[in-house]
Subunit: 196 residues, 4 copies
Amino acid sequence: MAPRTTEQFGKIRLEKMVLIMETSLELFAENGYHATSISQIAKKAGISKGLIYNYFDSKKELLDALITHGFDSIFQNFDLKEDGILTKEEFIHFIKQNFNLLRDNLQHWKLFYSLLLQPQVADSFAKDYEERGAPMFQMLFKFIESQGSKDPEGDLMAISAMLEGAFLYCVVAPDIFPMEIMEDKIINACFKIING
Amino acid sequence: MAPRTTEQFGKIRLEKMVLIMETSLELFAENGYHATSISQIAKKAGISKGLIYNYFDSKKELLDALITHGFDSIFQNFDLKEDGILTKEEFIHFIKQNFNLLRDNLQHWKLFYSLLLQPQVADSFAKDYEERGAPMFQMLFKFIESQGSKDPEGDLMAISAMLEGAFLYCVVAPDIFPMEIMEDKIINACFKIING
Amino acid sequence: MAPRTTEQFGKIRLEKMVLIMETSLELFAENGYHATSISQIAKKAGISKGLIYNYFDSKKELLDALITHGFDSIFQNFDLKEDGILTKEEFIHFIKQNFNLLRDNLQHWKLFYSLLLQPQVADSFAKDYEERGAPMFQMLFKFIESQGSKDPEGDLMAISAMLEGAFLYCVVAPDIFPMEIMEDKIINACFKIING
Amino acid sequence: MAPRTTEQFGKIRLEKMVLIMETSLELFAENGYHATSISQIAKKAGISKGLIYNYFDSKKELLDALITHGFDSIFQNFDLKEDGILTKEEFIHFIKQNFNLLRDNLQHWKLFYSLLLQPQVADSFAKDYEERGAPMFQMLFKFIESQGSKDPEGDLMAISAMLEGAFLYCVVAPDIFPMEIMEDKIINACFKIING
DNA sequence: GATGAATGAGTATTCATTCAT
DNA sequence: CATGAATGAATACTCATTCAT
């Protein structure tokens, strides 16, 4: 008889929000943002279309929430040693951590990559990505320098390209490029580039 | 008279086909496949919507034609030395050629990357890509081996990841990653990986 | 104890009812019936959507209640001298009273006029309006007659049209047609019509 | 076999445009703009929803076209003697013409009045209305003045209110206020106001 | 070969209304 | 009495595709 308490409502909202976001992440990642309809999401989540709009103002906002949350859940786990310089072990750990996060957030990454080339959608995305990535590039640069590289800028380019490509491979063709093996090879290659 | 007419018709057909494909490539690459409508293509090409269906059975088929043609125009220009082994100079030339083809077919690449992550669209795409890419991987592998690499498989992985990542960077953020500089750094890094 | 509680409930009910009606009148008048949503009303009133349905069975019934109440609050203030005949002073007072009621219930009038032309909505409305207006027309007719008009029917038509038009102007474009000036001019014109 | 000629297409477009506008005017006038759906229009016109968007970019644009066309078809028939001053006969003719136009464009007027009180819709409308009406007010003012009125401004207010009210009555309740009778009475009243 | 009017299934989104609490 | 999550039917609008000419 009595209305639900604020906590009860909060719990419901949180659960439904998570349900919607998880469902839509899955579909967006698998089929692409444009090719996924609100109806599909509702159907798969077992709720009505209208309910989605109770939580997100538009399809675009749902995507934005997904992106932001994705970035958060990926980047918050980084222990970026922004001030100091990485030791070799820390560097190795950093790369491994990257691969771990890739493993754990494969769908987020899939979504990110699929958005990367969709100009109209990627606006907010690109800026966010850049901002979040910048500290990592900086840290990498310092490390490369500290290792006595003769061309830190060039090596940074090569190494980040290699990492990006490796991630892309893992996302697109995980069976051809098994992550465990990739990981080692990439780490090795990094040192060869820096020291070579 | 009859053959002449046929010939003329053939010429018109070819020209119109090229017009449609060029126009749609431009739009697909710039705005994405889903966000581009047949009407837009027709308008930009200065023809009627109906005419497009005179040449392609569906929007999807137009895309397929674009992909196939894109692969052709990229890969046909490769002088793949499939039987023999590349010399260092040939390897360098091969990489440079890759960058040149990227430069000359930026829109095709943009389209390809944007499709890479859209499974439903990329079905035919992925298989084709694999088939076409296989000889190149083979050639690379042989070269790496011939250079005395201690871990050819690993180095191949690292190098192809690096190339893929470099291409992606060039396509997505050409102003941050200038192709000319990238090219040199990547080539250097390749040798460091192989010899290091 | 029981009656006390009932009384309190009754008081709460009444207060909430008034709150809902005032809020919805404001919104309906300002933005139109169709363009106003139950959610907006609830939000503006600081209550839940469900509560509105605790007092009114539907949006349409809320509107009907508003109309009826509007009529009541407008017409109940009239001291209609239905039996006798108005003196000149009483007639002038009657017109001024009309303008005063317009001033005091501008939103109601705004709503009424906006509904006047929406048949589906105005069904009950029109009948009510007619019933309520009839005595006023009668009274006016008697007065016009008593003033020696040669064509009381015609003058009644002209005068009521003028009043209606004046009210419409005041509601629609109050800054172009200032009520105070209108008032005098209309009263003058009435006598000119009757006596002319 | 050969495609239709430009004229053929033009004819089709014109016919369909007229069909859509006539149908939607009818429905908007009868049921109101908001309460009329595109589906209803399409159904009544015997065409598909999509076709309507082939001719009008949005429901709002369809309305705008209707308004503009309505104004045109009403005002273009006026022989506004803007420079000179109306004779009595010309004035009478002007009023009668007004009623005739009302008779001939009853639906347009119904639509106009129903829009007058819908703020969000009436934006473009109000400005247009004002612009188109201004010359008529001017002409009326000059005439009233020329007839020796002691208070031309006041009389103009009274007369235009009366005309507006009369029109409104004719539109809303044509059976209670028969236009033919109204017409005469209103004209008479005008002169009584001016001379009185 | 070429046109563009026409269709209809689909899209995102809104909103009055219900109902468990 | 009061809440707001949930629904579902409706809305405006889009677009690949067809087809008569």
